[in-house]
């Protein structure tokens, strides 16, 4: 996993979910982050799209089940993992 990209995704998540960065990990998910509800999930997806200039398909939206999935998705879309 690209460490810089991971940090960027986590920073976006910290901002959207209003959680300190230190409290997040790649396994953080809607089940563990209180403010990660439907509305914030969509906000998170839109923020990723804007930050990385990518387009997230409906299938991708559903695949993001934790922050690790988000990082994996962004890497795949940007080719930054290579």
């Amino acid at each position: 996993m690209n460490p810089e990209l991971s940090r960027h995704v986590m920073a976006i998540a910290s901002d959207i979910f209003n959680v300190p960065l230190a409290a997040l990990s790649l396994t953080s998910s809607p089940e563990t982050v209180e403010r990660w509800d439907s509305v914030q999930h969509l906000s998170f997806v839109l923020a990723l799209e804007e930050a990385f200039h990518i387009e997230v398909s409906p299938e991708n939206i559903e695949q993001i089940r934790n922050l690790g999935d988000a990082v994996t998705l962004v890497q795949a879309k940007t080719g930054a993992g290579r």
């Binding site: 998910s29 809607p30 089940e31 990660w36 509800d37 439907s38 509305v39 914030q40 999930h41 969509l42 906000s43 997806v45 839109l46 409906p58 299938e59 939206i61 559903e62 695949q63 993001i64 089940r65």
Partner: protein, 370 residues
């Protein structure tokens, strides 16, 4: 496991019932369940009407994890004529009760947009609820549609209006106002201060009809471009929305010198905890040229008073209708009736809601509230 959103079909019915059972078991509210029949009872698709409902379900391995509805209809823009839109309504997601499905709400919204980019949502209980918040996140503008009310029986209003009796102190104050007559005086003074003492022209008459007459078609065409945007209210649409067998609604035709100048649909709202034991009448829908709104509002109000309502309510967006309500002694307060067009839809709209004609009949409120 992936979620697929598809039209609701008969083989989904058991899964929808199971979905509803999970929602009920979580105690989120008895009304927050999806339709258990595939074919809409209200506005079922027919081969020749542009006005119909269609339901969709989000399915994961045979289980329903969400559902939503689209009410397809036609709107009219002054600038460019009629066009197709859909009202996004009744979205329900398992994410409400199981965080693992937090993505379903957004998935359904994007699916709806892919099916029909010209969408709107209406009502929603206020802009601080989850759906309008989600719409705002994706860039839909939100606008409140003004709410108006007229208290017919102040004593009963003060005693029964539960939403105002939220604390022991408030209950005490409202009971005091009711029993001393002070509340009656205050309400009457407010409503009278706003009312213009207008003698309704003797050439104007109002009549109840079982079905709207063919002359509503000409009235539609003569008035439609007086509004920057409105939903189509031609004869065929009215026949579909307010068929003769819908006896719970009253149709009024208002004429001047025997020529139709406007119409209104009024009805009693279903009982709700918010209104206690009050009988609440609503001006559901209406149509006229902006210059003729006052006699239409007057007729609608008088009809509901004759039907023994304690309180009359309505939501109207256009300035002319709002002014007519004010001049008829209606008061206004905070509205939770929100209009949100999708970004593509919003880009076509010129002006703001005060130039559009949006009423309680728009959206999905007709069968839900009456």
């Amino acid at each position: 496991m992936s979620i697929v959103i598809q039209p609701y079909e008969r083989h989904h019915e058991d899964a929808v019932r199971a979905f509803n059972a999970r929602l009920r078991a979580a105690g989120i509210g008895p009304d927050l369940v999806f339709y258990e029949q595939t074919h809409p009872e209200w506005l079922e698709p027919t081969c020749n009407s542009p006005l119909y409902n269609q339901y969709f379900v989000a399915v994961e391995n045979g289980d329903v994890r969400g559902a939503y509805a689209l009410k397809y209809e036609r709107f009219h823009l002054r600038e460019s004529g009629d066009y197709r839109v859909a009202c996004y309504h009744h979205p329900l997601s398992e994410g409400i009760i199981d965080r693992r499905y937090s993505s379903v709400g957004g998935l359904m919204l994007r699916d709806a947009l892919a099916r029909e980019p010209m969408l709107y949502a209406l009502g929603m209980g206020g802009d601080d609820r989850p759906l309008p918040k989600m719409l705002k996140v994706i860039g839909w503008p939100l606008a409140s549609i003004p709410f108006y009310f007229h208290v017919v029986r102040p004593f009963r209003f003060l005693r029964e209006m539960n939403v105002l009796r939220q604390s022991p102190l408030r209950c005490l104050l409202m009971d005091f106002s009711a029993f001393t007559g002070m509340g009656w005086l205050a309400i009457s003074a407010l409503q009278t201060a706003k009312r213009i003492t207008t003698r309704i022209d003797k050439t104007i008459e109002s009549a109840t009809v079982d079905e709207f007459p063919a002359s509503v078609e000409a009235l539609w065409h003569s008035a439609k471009n007086e509004y920057a945007m409105t939903s189509v209210r031609d004869y065929d649409t009215l026949a579909r929305l307010y068929p003769g067998e819908a006896k719970h609604l009253t149709r009024l035709c208002i004429t001047r010198n025997a020529s139709l100048i406007g119409w209104a649909v009024v009805g009693e709202r279903r009982p709700s905890r918010k209104f206690g034991a009050l009988r609440v009448g609503s001006i559901v829908d209406c149509w006229a040229r902006p210059d003729d709104t006052l006699p239409v509002i007057h007729a609608a109000k008088e009809c509901l008073i004759q039907q023994d309502m304690d309180l009359i309510v309505t939501n109207q967006s256009h300035t002319s209708w709002c002014e007519a309500l004010s001049h008829s002694g209606f008061l206004t307060t905070a509205s939770s009736f929100v209009f949100a067009p999708s970004r593509q839809h919003s880009a076509t709209l010129k002006g703001d809601v005060s130039q559009f004609h949006i009423t309680r009949a728009n959206g999905d409120g007709l069968p839900r509230n009456f």
